[in-house]
Amino acid sequence: MATLEVKNLCKDFHVREGGNRRILNAVQDVSFELVPGGTVALVGQSGSGKSTVARMIAHLERPTSGQVLLDGAPAPTRGRGVHKYRSQVQMVFQDPFASLNPFHSVGHHLERPLRLHGVATSKADVHAHVIELLERVQLSPGRDFLARRPHELSGGQRQRVAIARALAPQPSVLIADEPVSMLDVSIRLGVLNLLARLQREEDLAVLYITHDLATARHFSDRIMVMYQGEVVEDGAPDDVILRPQADFTKRLAAAAPEPARNERMIAAASRYAKDTTNDR
């Protein structure tokens, strides 16, 4: 199992506003490490650069400076090496409605990466792998899903297919960019639990990108908070959420809805004290 290391990663974008050109420092000097069996959460506002970090790791964007190292070796930038790198580092995107091709069946979506990355070659072998992948993401019985197209699936099921597709090349690193923000609330936890279980069982290194502090806290071993392209806070989840140091983290933690610290709820708590003990 491989370790992914990000060293002093920077990304500048050239933007044109009317006639003016300026340089936007989207990501500035970001460094961290993803270890097998660990989840790192990258938290920040929209525009803070967190997705750009993900895209650089997944080779969808070229860093302006800095390095991505897989097991100590710099990530290749061209040729066959890139293909090999991609089989190790896979990504799950935010919108399962856009990331699956509406023309293709679920089976097709999973067969392609299996064949392209040489995991399975014979027809029977590919079929067996596809079924196994589907069941691993709890779409069972797998054969019932083979012929379906994305529009016949719910949002949660689609995201599970997207996760199965990312698992097909047998990667060691998984980048999940807001994997549940487009899903209904009642199915979000199911998908996050699935990611947590896969991470444990397969010893995956996971980068979980989100703007939701609460899930970041519950599903990661470490939280990094990004603000305007820089990591402003980095630490154990409970330290970052309960004892934030950076001003921005404090603002973020204070802004998240949390009824338990609402004055009205605190005032009402004693009235309901008896009921709650019964519930638990």
């Binding site: 939701d212 802004a255 809805p257």
Partner: protein, 308 residues
């Protein structure tokens, strides 16, 4: 939260009990047995026999998942439904501050136009993208006044437009800006300013902060509650974000498959939810500051989640 005495009658459901079913003293809107179908090969009962009473100045939260009928219900209140949606049963009565009762579903043409935006305004889902991109903010506010307050002079309009932006915390200089020159939060504030333009008695907000990040969302929520206290309008706030609703609503209605499965004060929902579906929704939100593995309510197990 509520300092307005008028409001506390509806909001101050202080005594524990099934307060949700108790009608507010001074009702603003009464929905009785409303059913809305989408006609098609297979008729969908999007809203099924919904009754609720909204008090003056009250914030009601309408929570539920996509497809539960919450937006359809909101559109029904404003007579904004177009075929294949049809109202099959029930009624909506608006109790005007003048003392008149308005049968909303019977309104037509001119009267309907007078009711919409004057009495009930709306902040739409994805309000981020509901400003007209090719005319300035000023021109859009002017449109509202030209339609509903034709007697207003140009100077009055200019004054009022500036006032409105100030009210929602946007620099009046922005009147000459276009939508693309504003940030998401500012666009949302402008939409709220437009909804406030005619001093309505009820504002329906359909997922007004879903596309915004949490810091901006918090600012907007504070703005809404402040304006509510200042101006005394009632709010129907639609979202699937239950923790958010728990913080800002007086009462919360939980919708599922077109029905209201539970309706009670925010405190009651938080501490003593009765319906299993409400409990399931509460369990879907990990708690930010509680124990790790703890959820907003009724600490659920992280494992063995039902797959859907």
């Amino acid at each position: 939260m509520s300092t307005n005495p008028e409001m506390s009658s509806a909001a101050g459901v202080a005594t524990p009990g099934r307060s949700g079913s108790v009608a507010p003293d001074s009702p603003l809107l009464s929905i009785s047995g409303l059913s809305i179908d989408y006609l098609g090969e297979r008729t969908v009962h999007a809203v099924a026999n919904v009754s609720l009473q909204l008090g003056r100045g009250e914030i009601i939260g309408l929570a539920g998942e996509s497809g539960c009928g919450k937006s359809t219900l909101a559109y029904g209140i404003n007579q904004l439904l177009v075929p294949p949606a049809v109202i099959t049963e029930g009624g909506v009565t608006f109790h005007d501050r003048s003392g008149d009762d308005i049968d909303v579903l019977a309104l037509e043409d001119k009267e309907l136009r007078r009711y919409r935006w004057n009495k009930v305004s709306m902040v739409f889902q994805g309000a981020m993208n509901s400003l007209n991109p090719v005319i300035s903010v000023r021109a859009q506010l002017n449109d509202v006044f030209a339609t509903h307050r034709p007697q207003m002079s140009k100077a009055e309009r200019r004054l009022r437009s500036g006032e409105l932006l100030e009210l929602v915390g946007v620099d009046p200089k922005r009147l000459d800006s276009y939508a693309h020159e504003l940030s998401g939060g500012m666009r949302q504030r402008v939409m709220i300013a437009m909804a406030l333009a005619l001093d309505p008695e009820l504002m329906i907000m359909d997922e007004p902060t879903t596309a915004l990040d949490v810091v901006v969302q918090r600012d907007i929520l504070l703005e809404i509650t402040r304006l509510r206290e200042e101006l005394g309008f009632a709010v129907i706030f639609i979202t699937h974000d239950l923790p958010l609703l728990l913080e800002i609503s007086d009462r919360i209605a939980i919708m599922r498959h077109g029905r209201i499965v539970e309706m009670a004060s925010a405190e009651e929902i938080f501490f003593a939810a009765q319906d299993p579906y409400t409990r399931q929704l509460l369990r879907s939100f990990p708690s930010l500051t509680g124990e790790r593995g703890d959820f907003i309510r009724h600490g659920a197990q992280l494992e063995n989640e039902e797959v859907r």
